[in-house]
């Protein structure tokens, strides 16, 4: 199972702008590389990443082979209410991963 690292302030002040940073372990195989025996390494990418805050979209990203291995994203939201951030990664070969992080505003 791919490892995902998510960094979010767990107890921000209400109305504070917070940075969300996410990284997931994935080779992002481009399909352009050739292995030592001359065979093309088949493409295997994460194609899509989304982050929702209580069901409302924060950020969606469409990934192409030029995104580096272990895709990393940093972006911002306003901690309006206590709630849940939901992160979803989807990719080739049925790759799918969902993570949630609880935020409690103070």
């Amino acid at each position: 199972m791919a490892r995902a690292l998510i960094t979010v302030p767990k107890a921000p002040r209400r109305g504070e702008e917070i940075e969300i940073r996410v990284l997931i372990a994935h080779p992002m195989e481009t399909g352009h590389r050739v292995d030592a025996t001359g065979r093309r390494v088949p493409r295997s990418l994460i194609r899509r990443f989304t982050c929702h805050y209580d069901g409302e979209l924060v950020l969606a990203a469409e990934l192409h082979p030029a995104v580096a291995a272990n895709p990393y994203f940093a972006f911002y939201t306003i901690a309006r209410d206590s709630g849940t951030l939901t992160f979803v990664w989807q990719g080739d070969d049925g790759f799918a991963r969902t993570e949630s992080v609880r935020i409690d505003v103070t």
Binding site: H52, V58, L59, A61, E62, P65, A68, P71, Y72, A74
Partner: protein
């Protein structure tokens, strides 16, 4: 008109159509990829910013950040394109209603020194762009061999 001549004419016509289409929006060129994103509309320089180091040591993981001026109309999405990787698309961001501002960072691969272009689609249907030249000293491994 003989059947053969007719067939030749049709063939020539088809070839001409294929050629002009390719010239108009070849998706394998930087301009073509941007035109495909904007639907052929022009992208005005300014208002959007693509931050990336001008000199990159390691093309395998290059930090980039896209952002836009606060004063701009609502930004729907920002796409990043490259000039000389095997494929022109890099990444596309859609900023939802809960995004605090239009700013996102990621890490990308660069096969060689080249231009990068960020294009923002605004809610009024216009496009803004920023172009950056990047020099890469160690290229991303595209053809295999080594790490």
């Amino acid at each position: 008109m003989t059947g053969r001549r007719h067939a030749l004419r049709i063939g020539a016509g088809l070839a001409a159509v294929a050629f002009t289409r390719r010239a108009a929006a070849a998706p394998d060129t930087l301009a073509g990829a941007i035109a495909a994103f904007t639907g052929g509309a022009p992208a005005t320089a300014g208002g959007v910013r693509l931050e990336v180091a001008a000199l990159v040591d390691n093309g395998n993981t290059v930090p980039i950040t896209v952002s836009v001026d606060e004063a701009l109309a609502r930004v729907e999405s920002v796409a990043v394109f490259n000039e000389r990787n095997p494929e022109r698309d890099v990444v596309r961001f859609v900023f939802g209603p809960r995004a605090a501002r239009v700013r996102a960072s990621t890490r990308i691969r660069l096969a060689t020194s080249q231009k990068l272009v960020a294009v923002a689609r605004l809610s009024d249907g216009t496009f803004r762009s920023d172009t950056v030249d990047v020099v890469v000293t160690l290229a991303a491994c595209i053809e295999g061999e080594g790490g």
